[in-house]
């Protein structure tokens, strides 16, 4: 057995051992092959994104979504693409300008009794003062068009009560305004909102007390419906008499905006 030499060993000597750590020769063959592949990849132009996605398996997943997404796109396209022969706002404007003012008396249905002065009603009397723009004038003209019998009678009532006529024309004007706003700039197919039935605004209002009472009654009825099953079983269990049961129910009631409980 040989003895270790007596020379000092320093950190530098130990670090020099690292120079003796070498990969085998086969390692360099693999290294060169890998480097060649990477070098060729670096030389090739970068492929477009759809080819790289195809490599990552994106398109099979896309295939499942293709039908619904395509259908949604088609429907969206149908809504957005303007029709070649469709009416634009400009066309409507032309039509509106061609509408001649009709006397209110001429629009009265034959059997209607109306106490209207003989003088013809000028358009500015039918159309509200605020409706000064041509678009709204169109709407007003549409509102008095004889196609709709309900509207046709509206000017007839104008002599008696001009307010409904004003509201009817305003409703038509609202639709025309929507048409002009949507169809004017982007040529979206105009879909005029159907004019609402003319109802006196004050008639639409319900007193708050009645509304609250109706809500409470509805809630009580629904609670009774929910509790119907268990209550029946309770009755069987406790053998309540009919009179006593109704007596208990009648203790609760609603009047106006409040709920009463009788003891």
């Amino acid at each position: 057995m040989k003895r270790p030499s007596q020379r000092p060993v320093t950190v530098e000597d130990l670090l020099r051992l690292k120079r003796a750590e070498r990969p085998p020769e086969a390692f360099w063959a693999d290294f060169d092959r890998g480097l060649r592949e990477k070098q060729l990849a670096a030389l090739l132009p970068r492929r477009p994104w759809w080819q790289r996605w195809a490599e990552r398996g994106f398109w099979p997943a896309w295939g499942r979504l293709a039908l619904p997404v395509g259908a949604a796109g088609l429907i969206t396209g149908l809504f957005l693409v303007p029709r070649p022969g469709g009416e634009s706002t400009a066309t409507l404007g032309v039509v509106a300008r061609n509408v001649e003012p009709v006397p209110a008396a001429a629009l009265v249905a034959p059997g209607t009794e109306v106490s209207v002065p003989d003088a013809p009603v000028a358009p500015h009397e039918v159309v509200p003062a605020a409706v000064a723009s041509p678009v709204l004038a169109v709407a007003a003209a549409e509102a008095v068009a004889p196609a709709d019998p309900v509207r046709a009678t509206a000017p007839a009532r104008a002599g008696i009560d001009p307010f409904p006529v004003t509201w009817a024309s305003a409703g038509g004007a609202e639709a025309a305004m929507a048409v002009s706003l949507l169809g004017g700039s982007r040529r979206i197919e105009p879909r005029a909102a159907t004019p609402r039935a003319v109802v006196e605004p004050l008639q639409q209002m319900v007193p708050p007390g009645e509304r609250r009472g109706a809500r409470i009654l509805t809630a009580m009825v629904s609670m009774a419906a929910v509790e119907g099953g268990p209550r029946a079983t309770d009755r069987v269990a406790s053998r309540l008499s009919e009179e006593r049961l109704y007596d208990q129910i009648e203790r609760f009631g609603a009047r106006g905006a409040g709920v009463n409980v009788r003891f």
């Binding site: 057995m1 040989k2 003895r3 270790p4 030499s5 020379r7 000092p8 060993v9 320093t10 950190v11 530098e12 000597d13 130990l14 670090l15 020099r16 051992l17 690292k18 120079r19 003796a20 750590e21 070498r22 990969p23 085998p24 390692f27 360099w28 693999d30 290294f31 890998g34 480097l35 990477k38 070098q39 670096a42 030389l43």
Partner: protein
């Protein structure tokens, strides 16, 4: 072509071998820049072992080191048109290698397992050190060499990235302070300071294997 001696700092081309090497590199680089792609292979074969050695000693994992070495050459290949004659090609290449490795080490800070190359115990450098440390022979000597190798690599991995880089470039790869300063883009004083501190730490870690 401008000779390297007129462009590079004198300290970097002090030895005639290094000067010849730098001149040869510049010629090849000029060919690659002119569009002769195959000329790059000459540079790869000239520097692949040294670049691999630097990266391997920094990262302590042979598979990662191989990948990073390939990436380093690809990066050099891609940006060789930007290489100018202010520095030697090998300094430029080392800078790419060190920066890539440091980025990789920062990304995988938590992962620390070693995958080491075989220590050639019959190489003159290793033989001398092993003879000084052990009287064993045969399988026992190989076992001792493996144990020492693991301890040494473990101690190196305990150093900070910057200290490890300085030690690797100076003690293992043989670069001088100025070259290291250029590669690491810091001052020579910083290099010396880091080297001193790193050696102190290694001495403490490897004390059982040192002999005064």
């Amino acid at each position: 072509m401008i000779p390297a001696a007129k462009v590079l700092p004198q300290a970097l081309i002090a030895s005639p071998e290094r000067r010849q090497e730098a001149d040869a590199d510049r010629e090849i680089v000029a060919r690659v820049q002119a569009g002769e792609v195959a000329a790059f292979d000459v540079l790869v074969h000239r520097y692949r072992e040294r670049v691999y050695g630097v990266i391997y000693n920094l990262i302590g994992n042979r598979e990662d080191a191989a990948d990073l070495t390939q990436d380093c050459f690809i990066k050099a290949f891609r940006s060789i048109h930007r290489f100018q004659a202010q520095a030697a090609f090998f300094t430029w290449l080392y800078r790419i290698a060190v920066n890539s490795t440091l980025s990789q080490l920062r990304r995988q800070r938590l992962r620390s397992f070693l995958s080491l190359d075989q220590l050639d115990t019959e190489a003159p450098v290793a033989k001398e050190v092993l003879d000084a440390l052990t009287d064993k022979s045969g399988a026992d000597r190989a076992t001792f060499a493996q144990e020492l190798q693991e301890k040494l690599n473990d101690a190196l991995q305990r150093l900070s990235i910057k200290h490890r880089t300085v030690v690797t470039l100076f003690e293992i790869d043989g670069l001088n302070h100025q070259e290291i300063a250029e590669v690491m883009e810091c001052s020579e004083g910083t290099v010396r300071s880091r080297l001193h501190y790193a050696k102190q730490q290694l001495q403490a870690e490897l004390a059982p294997y040192l002999r005064r």
